[in-house]
Structures are given as structure tokens and as C-alpha cells.
Amino acid sequence: MILAASSIAASSLEGQAAPDFVLKSATGENLRLSEYRGDVVLINFWATWCGPCRQEMPLLDDLYGRYQRVGFNLLGVNIDDDSRRAMQMVQELGVKFPVLFDENKEVSKLYEVEAMPVTVLVDREGRVRHVHHGYKPGYEEKYLTEIRSLLRE
């Protein structure tokens, strides 16, 4: 059982090429990670039953709104078994970043997602630079610093 957690653990993915994937999005398009090469990408794994995810998502949406026009993209990957619940939550929260559905959990396995949420930052060359497991208020400040640093590279 995957539990919501608030701890930071090191990830073996840091420094490696981000595993490529393609998933269907909430708007019906298929979105592939490698097509964002050249942009800084934040991948956020979340689930409808995860309380910290609900707290975190609006803050991530703010980051997306602020930095999208300067080469930043955000992909929210939902891992619920039923994507309809995820669609409902997306509409409730009113987030604007692309939301993708990983019902088969293949992508979450690739990214070693064991607790929720997990936030992965990928640089312009497609390398995983930072991985954050869990969410506590204040983590968004870390994301902000890391995003700004990656955008400047």
C-alpha cells in the first residue's frame, strides 16, 4: 500500500537520463516527455487519496503559470486506478498544467514512486536533477530555487 509520506530520500535517478514515457492527458492528447527536451520539466506524481498532494498542486500550478513562458513545463502524473476521480479533482482544484493518467502504474515504476507525492525535476538536456519524496509546506520554496537555477543554465 502506498502511503502519503513527508520524508526526503535520495533517489538513484538523480544524474541519470529521465526515463521517457508517453501517457494520455486529461485533454485527450498523448504527451511524451522527450518532446519537452530543451525545457525544464517538473514531473509531479499524485493521487486523489493523497492529502499532501491536494495541498501541493495549487502551489505547483502557480509555478507553472509564472515560468511556463520562459521554458518551464509541468506534467502532473496521476496514478489512480480510475482516471475519472482524478479528472474530478483536477476540475475542483482548477489547475492548468497538463495532467496525465498512469492507470497501469508503468511510469510510476520507472520513476521508483513508492510514496506520494513525488516531484522530479528534469533539466533541459533530459537529465533528472532533483527528486523530492513527499510534501511539507515550504517545499515549494525549494522547487522555486531549483527551477530558477535550472532555467538559468
Binding site: 492528447e29 498523448n30 504527451l31 511524451r32 518532446e35
Partner: protein, 198 residues
């Protein structure tokens, strides 16, 4: 009087000290200055040359790494998909006005082997004449059955799902199978054709 004498002695000793200091700080010989400047310049040039050669070494190393990476990739393909059992499946689109491709699923001999979601960019590349090598498989010599299921948006942007099947004979040597989506103008419907390359 004593005070005046004292001040006088102090003043003259100050003058003597500053004179000694002035000797120590006398201007350097112009020849030694020139020599120092020249040796500095030589040192700078050497450092620049070293840096240039280091840079060249790094570039050469980078090229070697890229070449090695390419060789390893080709070797891996040869090992995983040896030519005598290799079957490759390609997707192509001819016009594609009546069908907006979303995904293709392949089954070989009843087993699902690939399920590929196409992005807008990939579909656009197919429309412009690109051919996508969707899947490679190792198959034994003999008869095999291929089922391809295409999903997407059909005419009038309705959800569309169509299958195509083909039996093929795998002989010795690599085999190439093309799954083509074409527009059948007479019926204003897409058509899915599977054909083998000779």
C-alpha cells in the same frame, strides 16, 4: 634651549630614517622590469597553449564517447534482434484525412507485443511522409498471425477503432512489415493495409 635642541635632534633622526627608507624604495632597474614583463607574457602564452591542448583533448574524448555509444547501440540491436529471426513493423500514413491516429496495438500469435500512443508531433511527422518503426520482434521460422488495432478519430471526429489482420510466413532472414493507413476516397473512410516489404 634644551627643548629646541631636542626637537632638532628628533628632526634630524627623522630625516636620517626617511633617507634610509628612500634608498630601499629606490626605483627598479628598467632592464629587470622588462625581463619580468617578458617572463610574465611567456607564462601567459604557455598557459593559453596548455588550455587549448586540454580543450582539444576533451573534444577528442567526447567524440570517442559518442562513437562508442553509437557502436554499442548497433551491437545491442544485433544481439537482441539477430537478422535471421528479426521482424520489424512499420507504421505509415498516406494522406490520413479521414483518420486522426491516436494509438496502435500489435498482437502476434495472440500475444500483445506493443501498444504505442502517438503524440501530435509524431502524427504530423507521419503525415509528412515519415515512417515509424513501431516494433521489432524475434520470430521463429514458420507461419505467424499479426493483428493490428488502430484507434483514433474517424470521419466527423468520432472515436474510431479498426483492426487489420495478416498471416505471414517467416523464413530465414529479416522480415519487414508495413502497416499503412490510407484514405479510401470512394467510401470517405480510412483503410488499414498490412503489407510485406520484399
Amino acid at each position: 634651549m634644551t627643548r629646541i635642541r631636542f626637537v632638532g635632534i628628533a628632526l634630524s633622526s627623522m630625516l636620517w630614517v626617511s633617507g634610509a627608507l628612500a634608498q630601499d624604495l629606490a626605483p627598479l632597474d628598467s632592464d629587470s622590469v622588462l625581463a619580468a614583463a617578458q617572463s610574465l607574457e611567456v607564462g601567459e602564452m604557455q598557459a593559453r597553449n596548455e588550455f587549448r591542448s586540454l580543450d582539444q583533448d576533451v573534444q577528442a574524448l567526447k567524440k570517442e564517447v559518442l562513437d562508442l555509444n553509437r557502436d554499442l547501440f548497433l551491437l545491442e540491436e544485433e544481439l537482441l534482434f539477430p537478422a535471421n529471426s528479426q521482424v520489424a513493423f512499420f507504421i505509415s500514413v498516406d494522406v490520413g484525412e479521414y483518420f486522426d491516429l491516436d494509438a496502435v496495438k500489435l498482437q502476434i500469435d495472440g500475444k500483445e507485443v506493443s501498444n504505442y500512443l502517438y503524440t501530435e508531433r509524431e502524427v504530423s511527422a507521419l503525415h509528412r511522409g515519415g515512417v515509424h518503426r513501431m516494433h521489432m520482434e524475434n520470430l521463429k521460422v514458420g507461419n505467424h498471425e499479426l493483428i493490428a488495432v488502430f484507434t483514433g478519430k474517424g470521419p466527423s471526429t468520432r472515436d474510431y477503432r479498426r483492426g487489420a489482420t495478416m498471416s505471414f510466413e517467416k523464413g530465414i532472414g529479416a522480415k519487414y512489415v508495413e502497416l499503412e493507413i490510407t484514405d479510401r476516397m470512394t467510401k470517405q473512410q480510412p483503410e488499414f493495409v498490412i503489407k510485406e516489404w520484399e
